[in-house]
Symmetry: C2
Subunit: 392 residues, 2 copies
């Protein structure tokens, strides 16, 4: 049976109705939100129609299981607080279409909280044994909700964890989320490896005080400590990073966050990514040393949250070869090997079985944004490469 491109695109557009932002094709579908759970219920009905056995595990990962040993395909259907319609969703819907069309057994998965409301690729991290459920349950989102409380909302849907032994390997199709393919005019990226990531919450605690009567030299202003930390690590990183290394302070929470009060506390996220584990560790040392130096110098209390992260992972050579074969047939001369700067569930699944990844272009490299998009021709090209890989 051949793949049905119209059905594939129709399902993709149907999925973005869950949590539709009303801005472009964007979606607001963070893990365990009402929109996310509704989308997973719809996906499970689609899996059933495709002859797969739907199965929610205790953390909300949704599997569509084929009979006997099978190749697993998929990604995640949760989104960032402001997400694009394809990020994750594309890999899940493409896997569903391949499962329908393939004469070989294909199972489908939509992992939970890949976008890290609670941690980093939380659902696949727990399933793969990279994160203990008991530890994960204590993780909180920025509003202070625990994962334990969030996943309790799906209790009526969930069963036990799925045995990974039934899967022969995992292939994840995803948008690139960067500018490389789009600017080069290539249609397909065959991933060679996925960069590692570290993520940590840091908190400076100084002295909250009156913004008019506290002389500058007597202040212990937590925002000033954050600003100084930000500029000093940038300087110290210059000696260790490569052009591919990235780091981000994306979340900042000042207390009490009022214009007439010297901020007494600054809690913020520090995230860094690189292909080399040693470099990630050297950056961690710089981060801890610099924060400690600033805290000591400015008389502040300093605390670090748990270090979350994933190691860099190389893709499986034989699965990668099957994707290369497909890429060469579908887009001769218009595909490339490339690393993934973004983190993916495949990183976790690699603990359990051989994994490979396939990228399609992101227009202007935009992602994690309502404006994220990919041409439908490119989406279909990716689907066809996946079909060939599933057959070979």
């Amino acid at each position: 049976m051949a793949i049905d491109e119209k059905r594939f695109l129709a399902d993709l557009h149907k999925l973005r109705e869950f949590g539709a932002s009303g801005v472009g094709k964007g979606v607001v579908r963070p893990a365990f939100s009402d929109a996310d759970t509704a989308a997973r219920r719809w996906l499970s009905s689609r899996m059933q129609e495709a002859g797969l056995q739907p199965h929610f595990d205790p953390v909300g990962n949704l599997f569509g299981l084929a009979q006997g040993p099978s190749l697993l395909m998929g990604s995640h259907s949760d989104s960032q607080p402001e997400g694009g319609w394809l990020d994750g969703a594309l890999g899940v819907i493409a896997a569903l279409e391949i499962a329908r069309a393939s004469d070989r057994p294909i199972s489908v998965v939509s992992f939970q909280d890949e976008e890290g409301r609670f941690g980093v690729t939380t659902g696949s991290a727990i399933w793969s044994g990279g994160l203990k459920l008991s530890d994960a349950d204590a993780l909180t989102d920025h509003a202070g909700t625990t994962l334990a409380a969030a996943r309790a909302s799906m209790r009526n849907l969930t069963q036990g964890f799925v045995d990974p032994g039934q899967f022969t390997g995992f292939i994840e199709m995803h948008i690139e989320q960067g500018p490389s393919l789009d600017t080069a005019g290539d249609l397909i990226g065959v991933v060679t490896d996925i960069v590692g990531i570290r993520d940590m919450v840091i908190c400076f605690e100084g002295q909250q005080n009156h913004a008019g009567t506290t002389p500058m030299h007597l202040r212990r202003d937590a925002f000033q400590a954050l600003s100084l930390f930000n500029s000093e690590i940038a300087t110290r990183f210059q000696n260790v990073v490569t052009p591919q290394t990235v780091w981000t302070i994306g979340h900042v929470d000042l207390h009490p966050n009022a214009s007439s009060i010297v901020p007494g506390r600054a809690r913020f996220s520090m995230q860094w990514r690189d292909q080399d584990s040693d470099r990630l560790m050297r950056m961690e040392q710089i981060i801890r040393e610099t924060a400690q130096k600033i805290a000591d110098r400015s008389g502040m209390a300093l605390s670090f949250g748990p270090l979350l992260g994933l190691e860099p992972v190389a893709m499986d050579k034989s699965l990668q070869k099957r994707l290369e074969t497909g890429a060469q047939r579908v887009a001769p001369g218009k595909w490339r090997h490339m690393p993934s700067g973004a983190l993916h569930d495949a990183t976790n699944v690699a603990r359990l079985m051989p994994v490979a990844m396939l990228f399609v272009p992101s227009i202007n490299g935009i992602s994690h944004d309502f404006a994220e998009d990919t041409s439908e021709d490119d989406l279909i090209a990716g689907l066809r490469v996946l079909e060939i890989a599933a057959k070979s």
Copy 2:
């Protein structure tokens, strides 16, 4: 009739029950909150018992009016999001006690939103004509609520604006909110002038993007622009400021504020204070130039909110003299002249009539914090100085 110190302290402690934080003696009583409105209702009943005519004006300023021409005393009963029990409240309750005890006509006032939920000393600014009600109605708090919406909640209590012509002058007693009196062991500060203040919201808008796939050199990270702005103004200010000058970035709002997303927008508060208007203006030029330079350099959109502020104000010499007489009698050799680094309603009232101010010590100089406090002996010393000033 003599002042009743026990009644004065009992009223002070009663007032802190409205919005009690449960942490020390702290209060959470921002303007127009349920706790603030309940406190004002209680104050108006106390004014009535004292033989004063309670009167809420359209912005929630509460007056207790004596018959005929009178001296006005008071301060404000709203608090910061995390406030102390005395800030503002002390001046209102002290005025109430003086009005009860004095044989001369004393009127009492509790101004609304001195702490600037919507602007800067909003209630007295509007009453004094420094801020037009129609302009003020459009001001919003950090949650986006307008003053118009907030004051509508008190509509059933309010009457017209009070005619300032009936007041012969205004005396405001307040805690110092700084360390000077406490460290010097002085009991009383007679204020010579109040510093000027400027307050403005600034917003950098760059490009929200994926924190893993967007190379550092291609980012337009709004937090990085804020951090750079913060360090560059500190450098440029060195040529302009005095040891008394202060500036604060106390409120920061990143968007979308997620650890895996390069922040696309940073909206923050910039506040600066000094005794000299020209210096305040030179600092404004540096702020605008520096922000524009950074926005141009990093390809960001830049916007400035309305510039809120108050000019430096000198206290009235003859009212000041009456406070000096009281201070010399109550605390011979243990009082001083001093400027006010904090902003007060007296700054606005000075547009309408002669004003003077009296400070009592703040323990460790702490204020705008639940830990703010002053010894009861010092509170009573201040009350006695106020009594003498009212008689002389």
